[in-house]
Structure formats: structure tokens, C-alpha cells
């Protein structure tokens, strides 16, 4: 919200920065001396974007914060659909923002293919999404962020679930100058399930921040979170995962994992896993590791004939595969795996 106001009022004083606890690793205030002026109208890009290989029934594209359709999408009760939502930035040292709402009605099953595609440079972009799932609704959200080295971009979603609904999310990013993808999710328990995953692959001086807050507010909610990242050069990966189990949210089952590989000494990972538990009889666990590729495993693979680069790529793909394998939609899973493999190729 602070960022939205900063852009709307062109006032840098509203930008969050390192004095705000939630933004201390992604210091927008420190990065921007002024809010860039408003972006011009853009032209809808040719092609379908990074998830173009996956067929969609509906599509809406935003270019520089302006969209070619309505500002919301609704999957009707009982419907099964795939929806492509693209946020395109074609901007040079300008700023823009967009807001969008996605509703999945009772019993509907929606696959959301959400992409952030930037051309140009040094822009500031902000997207706010509202996502609501009715009872028994199911949403699988695949997010791919492809933005230039020098862009600053923030995307935030507020997610509201109903009983017996299923929400699954996989975010794949290669970062930007400063980039943050944030998800705030209200979990009602009552048989609702959440999978909330991420992959970041960072080189050069890129920065990606995956922040999630899952608040369990009812009895018997299930959350499974797995985020994995690879960073090299001077890149910086930030993972802030918070799971809150509110008073009365008994029998919550929440698992959070964050694992990162540092390929070079200059890269940095800041991980802040948090469990805040106010209920009884809950099952919560988190695991967090940051390390290098297993040199012993690499030697073993080379002894069997794999050249070093191939052995490294194979280990890293397997490492990330544990995240992308969790995508249920077959086409989206293949697209995500291909995207990760291509980005890994660019990194190694």
C-alpha cells in the first residue's frame, strides 16, 4: 500500500525501506532517489509470454498498468478453466501500477498463468492482486517473473480462502534490480489446503524477495511450503516465510522448507522463516538450509563419466525439480520445468 501511494502521489517519502522490518532486505527507499514519472501507454506484445506453451481459455494483458479487458476475472461455479494474466512493462525510467481481482466460485477449478514481462529499463512497477476462493473452489497459480536487470518491481497478493478450498502457488523468478513477490494468505482451516512454493534463480547483481504470510484462522488447516533458490555472482535471494497459527486454529498442519545453493562467494541469501503459534495440538515444522553443491556427489558423478558442467546442471535441476514436480497441471508443470532448466543453463 505504501508503494501504491508513493507511485500515485509521485512521492518517494512513502516508499518502504530498511527501517520497516518487513522490507529490511528489499530497501526500496534506499534504491530510489525519486519516483519515476508515469509510464506511457504501451503496445500489447506479440506472442503469449513465458507460459505461452500452456493453452488458456481466457486471457487479460496489462501493459504499463493498463489492461485490455476488465479489472477482474471470475471462474463460475463448477467451471474448469485456465486463465492467462500478463503484466507487461514497456518502460524507460517511468513507473506504473495495476490492480486486479480473481474470484473462483464454489466448486470451480482454475489454473492461473500469471507472468511479469519487462522490456525497457529502470522502471518501477507495482501490482496488487486480490484472490478469493469460494467453498470447494480450487486454484493453481503459476507465476513467472522475467524482468530486466535494472527494474524495480513489487507484486503483492491478498488471498482469502473458504472451507474445503484448495490453493496452490508456484512462483518462478530470476529477479531484477530489486524485486519482491509477496503473498498474504488467510487460511480458514476447515479442510482447506494450501501449497505455496517458489523458485529463484539469480545471477549478476539480481535481487529477488519471496515473502509469504500464511495465517491459519480455523481448525484443521493444512499448509505445505517449499521454496528453493540458486544464487551466484553478487546476487541476493531473500526468503521471508511466516506461518501464523491463530488462537483456536487447533490441529493445524503446517510445513515450511527453504533451501538455497550458493554457487559463488559473493552471492547472498537472507532467509527468515517464522512460525508464530497461538493454538494447541498443532503440527508445525520448518527447515532452512543454505549451502554449496555437494562436492562428493559431483566427484561421484564425474567418476561415472559426466563432465563437471553436466554434473552440476543435473544436481541443480534435481534440486529444483522437487519444487516444480509439485505443480499438478501437467502443461504448467512442463513449462515451469523447462523455464527453470533454461534459466539454470544461463546461470551455469
Amino acid at each position: 500500500m505504501m508503494l501504491a501511494r508513493a507511485i500515485a502521489e509521485q512521492d518517494v517519502a512513502h516508499l518502504p525501506g530498511r527501517r520497516d522490518e518487513a522490507w529490511k532486505y528489499t530497501d526500496l527507499r534506499g534504491a530510489l532517489r525519486a519516483v519515476p514519472g508515469p509510464s506511457p501507454r504501451g503496445v500489447a506484445p506479440v506472442g503469449l509470454g513465458p507460459l505461452g506453451a500452456v493453452e488458456a481459455d481466457h486471457a487479460i494483458t496489462f501493459v504499463n498498468g493498463r489492461c485490455d479487458g476488465e479489472g477482474s476475472f471470475e471462474a463460475r461455479a463448477g467451471e474448469t478453466a485456465t486463465f492467462r494474466l500478463r503484466f507487461v512493462s514497456q518502460a524507460e525510467e517511468t513507473s506504473h501500477q495495476a490492480a486486479f481481482a480473481v474470484t473462483v466460485q464454489a466448486g470451480a477449478t482454475l489454473t492461473l498463468l500469471e507472468t511479469y514481462e519487462g522490456s525497457g529499463s529502470a522502471y518501477l512497477a507495482n501490482v496488487n492482486l486480490d484472490i478469493w476462493l469460494a467453498e470447494g473452489a480450487s486454484l493453481e497459480r503459476i507465476v513467472v517473473l522475467e524482468e530486466p536487470d535494472d527494474a524495480v518491481s513489487v507484486s503483492s497478493a491478498e488471498v482469502e480462502l473458504s472451507a474445503e478450498s484448495a490453493y496452490a502457488q508456484t512462483v518462478l523468478t530470476r529477479g531484477a534490480r530489486l524485486q519482491r513477490h509477496e503473498t498474504r494468505l488467510h487460511h480458514p482451516g476447515g479442510g482447506a489446503t494450501v501449497r505455496i512454493d517458489g523458485v529463484y534463480l539469480l545471477g549478476a547483481r539480481r535481487h529477488a524477495d519471496l515473502t509469504t504470510v500464511v495465517t491459519h484462522e480455523g481448525v484443521g488447516g493444512v499448509t505445505s511450503q517449499l521454496t528453493k533458490g540458486v544464487a551466484r555472482d553478487q546476487a541476493r535471494g531473500v526468503f521471508q516465510g511466516k506461518i501464523v497459527v491463530s488462537h483456536g486454529a487447533d490441529r493445524t498442519d503446517a510445513r515450511m522448507g527453504h533451501h538455497a545453493l550458493l554457487l559463488t562467494d559473493g552471492a547472498e541469501i537472507d532467509a527468515k522463516p517464522e512460525l508464530e503459534i497461538y493454538a494447541d495440538d498443532v503440527s508445525c515444522a520448518h527447515g532452512n538450509t543454505v549451502g554449496a553443491l555437494d562436492e562428493d556427489a559431483l566427484f561421484y558423478m564425474r567418476q561415472r563419466g559426466l563432465p563437471e558442467a553436466q554434473a552440476r546442471a543435473m544436481l541443480m535441476q534435481a534440486f529444483l525439480g522437487e519444487v516444480t514436480d509439485r505443480i499438478a497441471h501437467e502443461g504448467a508443470r512442463h513449462a515451469a520445468q523447462a523455464w527453470a532448466a533454461a534459466e539454470l543453463g544461463a546461470l551455469s
Binding site: 562428493d296 556427489a297 566427484f299 561421484y300 567418476q303 561415472r304 563419466g305 544436481l315 535441476q317 525439480g321
Partner: protein, 246 residues
Amino acid sequence: MLSIDNLHAVVGGAEILKGLTLDVPAGEVHAIMGPNGAGKSTLSYVLTGRSGYDVTQGGATLDGADLLALAPNERAARGLFLSFQYPLEIPGVPSLTFVRTALNAQRVARGEAEVSAPEFLKRARAVAAALKIDFDMLKRPLNVGFSGGEKKRMEIFQMVMLEPRFLILDETDSGLDIDALRIVSEGVNALRSPDRAMLVITHYQRLLDYIKPDRVHVLAGGRIVASGGPELALELEATGYDRYAA
């Protein structure tokens, strides 16, 4: 075939191999026995090129080629295979995918055509059956969650699939029960041929009842201190290594 000449090697600042000389001609199986800490595993890692195992003097050749000048994968492509004492787990990579990738990498390095998927699978099924490996196990990530015996069996599976020319077996019998030992040994013995050779590293004589060596060497204090025929292994079993202690 394999020729090691006055090999000296340092690990973590300590000299472990102190002038080891050994020739293993094609068609022969040689056993290296010795007390713990004699340098048996160091020898296998130096020959296969593990980093941290630095050769300070001497050399080793395979079919006349300077082994120590080659990267580990280049040594593998020339037919050098080490069955690890403690095989590594490779999470997320199905065993079959791994072996096929390794086989094709070796073939490409040798300028040969890659093996097609159906051809590979057909052979993998036959080899797995011979080694009594459940084919479904080959779809699981390599060695992840496998028992010690299963890992050793997977080493032999890989060895048979990769058809190496020079085999080093490092304590292959450890962790194996008698039935598994017999199956693994049959797999190894099936690879014996006039154009192959093997180095069997073992602490105990037991393995040599199944894989009969042509020559037995005693490694102690970083060098070969005694060599003889198969009877030397039996002698060692009776008398122990004490008289060879450095």
C-alpha cells in the same frame, strides 16, 4: 594395462602413499589387502582423480596414457571405474536416468554414438534381472534411501552397464550379506575378460573366496610391502597384518 610407478600422494598435508609401485596387466585380477589406514582408499581416489588427493611424485598410466593428467570424467571415458566403498546419494535423479546419462557422456567422449532409449532399457532390464535388482528400484533417485547392500548392488549394476576396462572395487563386500555377496561377485566375475583388469581392495579375505585373484599385494604404510599368489590372502587371514605394521 594399469601401471603405477613410485606413487606419492598427500591428503590434507599428510603423505599417505609413499612410493607405491604396481602393475596390473590386462586379463588379471589383483587384490590389495592391508590394515586400516594403509592407504587403500587413498589409492583408489588418486587413481580416479578426486580433488584433495595430491600426487607429489611418481605417476600412473592406463594403457600408456598418463592417468593423472586427465579429469575424472576423462578417466571414466577411458574405461576406469571405481565401485565406491560408500556410494553417494544423488537426490532427484532416477537411477536409470543417471546411468544412461553417464553411459552416453562416456560414449560421446569416445566419439561413439549415443545409446537409444529402447536399447538402453532392454539391457538395463537384463542386467537388473541378473543382479536380482527390482526394476522399480531403478526408477527411484540413485541410492537415496537404499540400504548399504542395495547401494553396493547398484554400484555393480552401473559397472556392468558402463562396461569399463579397468575396475577398482573398494571394500565392495562391506555391508553385504552372504547372498548379496554371491550375486555381486557373480556380476563382477562375469566381467572378467582378457582385455579387462581389476583391482580388488579389501580388508578381509572373504571377498576373495568369490572373486579369485591372480595376484595378492599387501599395502602397508603407503607402499606395497609383499606380493604373492592367492595363497597370500589365506596366510594374511591366519596371521593378520601385524608383521607389516609400519
